[in-house]
Symmetry: C2
Subunit: 142 residues, 2 copies
DNA sequence: GTAATCCTTGACGCCGACGTCAAGGCAACG
DNA sequence: CGTTGCCTTGACGTCGGCGTCAAGGATTAC
């Protein structure tokens, strides 16, 4: 099959395939017209690449999986190098998730504090009982 | 103070400050030589920007906070627009964290599966005793 | 005088993974 | 014969947030 069909079958674009080839990740044979030619095995390699990309793997991180498949193994993750990438990615994810949760907690705290401050101001504004001269809080909402 | 001192006091670079100015986020007065001049209030604005950036906020997302401070409010998050950014960021974080946890789970599952497959192969290789024909698990390693 | 240190503007570089456009080739269809 | 549709290579654009370099002006220290 040619590049357009492979791209369509894998749910990607011809541009991506040419890019992968330029990176040495998915080389193509050429037919008599100089057109790139692919077979079902290339589809499998490409599917492996796309699956990992969808998981957020960098393109370079898919290389061990692709080479593993090309070496004849039944799955891209049948090789130690692929497992190492899995483990490294798990560690990265754990770190990242931890950081994001910490940020989420801090932002949540800030939001709660800011909302509380606003509510206190609103309550004071509603109290007609002689409010002690509240400093310089003018022009809240423009 | 001039740009170098402000940058140092805020723990950032002169390049970043000029960039913020080019974005209209942190305009500067100029002294007689055309040099940028800042005061303590600018330091406060810049500190707000850097804090939010450290939390992963886009530069544009810091704008409501900066404008809130510049409008004379005591905190950058004293204004509704800032609270809206907080809330949107919390939602984004929740979505992102959820996606990352899903990916983490799937990668973890894949790793476990791949390791199990390798262990089974290793055990089979170690067993010299006539292994019963293991269903259709042929040609694992070539 | 001159070296060091600060500042100015302008412009290009970077990172990844492609998108998009240009100019052209070759085949099949009507 | 022209049109459509696929393909080719090459090259520039995108995004954000700056880093880095170039060329020059000004002040202060020695």
């Amino acid at each position: 099959m040619r590049i357009g069909e492979l791209a369509a079958r894998a749910g990607t674009t011809t541009r991506a395939l040419r890019y992968y080839e330029s990176r040495g990740l998915l080389p193509a044979r050429r037919d008599v017209h100089g057109h790139r030619t692919y077979d079902e095995r290339d589809l499998k390699l490409l599917t492996q690449i796309r699956t990992l990309r969808d998981f957020g793997f960098d393109l370079e991180e898919t290389r061990p999986f692709v080479e593993c498949l090309r070496a004849g193994h039944p799955e891209g993750d049948s090789c130690p190098a692929s497992l190492a990438v899995y483990r490294r990615k798990l560690d990265e994810l754990d770190v990242l998730i931890g950081e994001l949760r910490a940020v989420r907690a801090r932002v949540g705290t800030q939001l709660a504090r800011a909302e509380r401050a606003r509510n206190e101001l609103a309550v004071e504004a509603l109290l007609p009982g002689g409010p002690e001269p509240r400093c310089e809080l003018g022009g809240q909402e423009q």
